[in-house]
Amino acid sequence: MASNEFVVPEQYEDLTPAPQVDKKTLNRMVWRSYWLQSSFNYETMQSGGWLFAMVPGLEKVHTNKKDLAASMYHNLDFINTHPFLVTFVMGIVLSLEQNKFDTQTIRSVRISAASPLGGIGDALFWLTLVPITAGITSNMAIDGNILAPFIFLIVFHAALFACRFGLMGWAYKLGTSAIDALTANMQAFTRAAAIMGCFVVGCLTVAMGGTQINLEIPNGSSRSIAATTVVVSNKEAKSYEDLEGIDTEKADAGTIAIADKDGKPLTAADADGNAVETGVKDLGNGLSSVTYGTVTESPVTFKVADTLNTVMPKLVPLCLVLLLYFLFSKKNFTPMMGIVLVLIIGIVGAFPLNEWFGISWWTGLW
């Protein structure tokens, strides 16, 4: 895995800004952006497809072969954005590449611009456009209207097409026009971009960190007495009164009683959780209202997640990110080693040790 020790230089070798990228190349990039998720994976998510889409532009602006390699390499960073809005990020990043910004700045800007688009895109497309168009057209389909799928496809694609091409041109122009102001304050901009980038990664750790330790350790059981009130004939009520008094601390679960071992009424909880006293009340018409108690025993579990959440919600994702950061930056871990480590943690954490070795408190970490 020697190849992974490739270090992206802080600056490109050729720092002369490249000429404006022509419309044809921009259009090629847009068409390629349709394959953004072609190599989707859980490590860097859309990075492979992102690079695939960026390649025509990168080839134009980086004539120096070493610069092209560096640029391609860092364009494989983790990225997760909305497939329908990605051209916006592409336009911005291309304008930075063209003007030979520091690689670190480009990386920070990319993750900062890409990440929030996910939520906007989901809201716009999956939660608005698709439910409305698919909702209407599926009802048409159920009625047997063959036009339904076509209407769905046409409306959906008209919206997407406009989005992809419009955003690409606009973002690229926006990026290139802002360049002069930014290059004048390069250092401050690099710093601001890194601030935003680190901030966004902190946000992603929470927003996309679903990992939680769901281990529940059995911790004895709690006893309580549940009250039940019934109306029965006086004769039957007598049989309740004759029930043996119980030792509330020791009686088996399921035992029915109306008094404790000293003959005093029990205090039990009714269905709403209110405390009531057990006993028999003669209703005067030959019937009695009997309130009796049932001893219940429910297992108590110690939920690790609850404890962790009182320390800090999303503590597990935070610790994992920090652990991996430590391994990557201080222990020369390669991305591949990180992935293998995560796989091992996942699978070992799920081992059913309770079934295999009879370790009863272990229910699996996840």
Partner: protein
């Protein structure tokens, strides 16, 4: 019901295309409302396919691939629902329900596939280091073809083998392995995050990482804000970064101007 060779091949091709399309290109051809009538036409009953497609589509509206979560797989589910309805004569709703175990199987499969595809990024990195843009294209195509083939083979097998098989396969996977793999899948993004941090982080930046972490915890805990969380956070982050940018540049300007602050009052 017996299927002829041409039908099997056509179902294979449709699934191959739909499997790729579910994540790329049009991201809509795979929707059951489209695959339903196509499968119906292949099996000689387009109208039933259309109705099943519509029925399945309505069910999936609440199950969109939002925020990277994998819903029960609509490609496998939609296609097999149409197959069941057209070939076994099941009612559209029953066919939809019968297809659910297969859709779940597809969901597991996709999660597993996305986890196991991570090593492919090594090949991408190798190609990048050599500035080999052609190789990126080749890898992208290979990646897509593998995805399409896996889906097409699985669906075709179920198509030929029939309905009971889906449940049997779902039952055969040990629950713990499935849990472990999806947990690992959920954690893999942290590898990506950590690499990004390694690039951007220096001593000054830890506070901003933690600030983002803490503020997002607050916003994420408010149910009304859970959907636009990242946008809200990006605006806050932008505000902080912009403020810092102004501080840095004004400081520089102030020195150049001989200490005259810029507001001019």
């Amino acid at each position: 019901m017996e299927f002829n060779f041409v039908q099997v091949i056509l179902v294979f091709i449709v699934t191959f295309i739909a499997a790729i399309d579910q994540f790329d290109f049009t991201e809509s051809l795979y929707q059951p409302i489209v695959t339903g009538p196509i499968i119906g036409a292949i099996l000689g009953d387009m109208n039933t396919g259309l109705v099943v497609g519509g029925t399945y589509q309505l069910m999936t509206i609440g199950n969109m691939p939002i925020g990277g979560a994998q819903p029960p797989n609509a490609v496998i589910g939609g296609i097999l629902a149409a197959v069941f309805a057209c070939s076994l004569g099941m009612e559209p709703t029953a066919a939809t329900a019968a297809a659910i175990p297969f859709a779940l199987l597809g969901q597991y499969g996709v999660t597993l596939f996305f986890t196991l595809r991570a090593p492919l990024m090594e090949s991408f990195r190798d190609a990048a280091i050599k500035a080999d843009t052609k190789r990126i294209t080749v890898l992208t195509i290979i990646s897509e073809v593998i995805l399409g083939l896996i889906f097409a083979v699985i669906v075709t097998l179920f198509f030929v083998a029939g309905q009971g098989v889906g449940q049997a396969v779902v039952d055969a996977i040990p629950a713990w392995l499935n849990t472990g793999l999806s947990a690992a899948g959920g954690m893999m993004r942290f590898v990506g995050f950590a690499i990004l941090l390694k690039i951007m982080m220096n001593r000054d930046m830890w506070a901003f990482f933690l600030l983002g972490f803490a503020l997002t915890n607050i916003v994420a805990a408010i149910p009304d804000l859970s959907s636009p969380t990242l946008l809200i956070m990006a605006l806050i982050g932008f505000g902080i970064a912009f403020w810092d940018f102004q501080q840095q540049t004004e400081l520089k300007g102030a020195i150049a101007d001989g200490g005259d602050m810029s507001d001019g009052i």
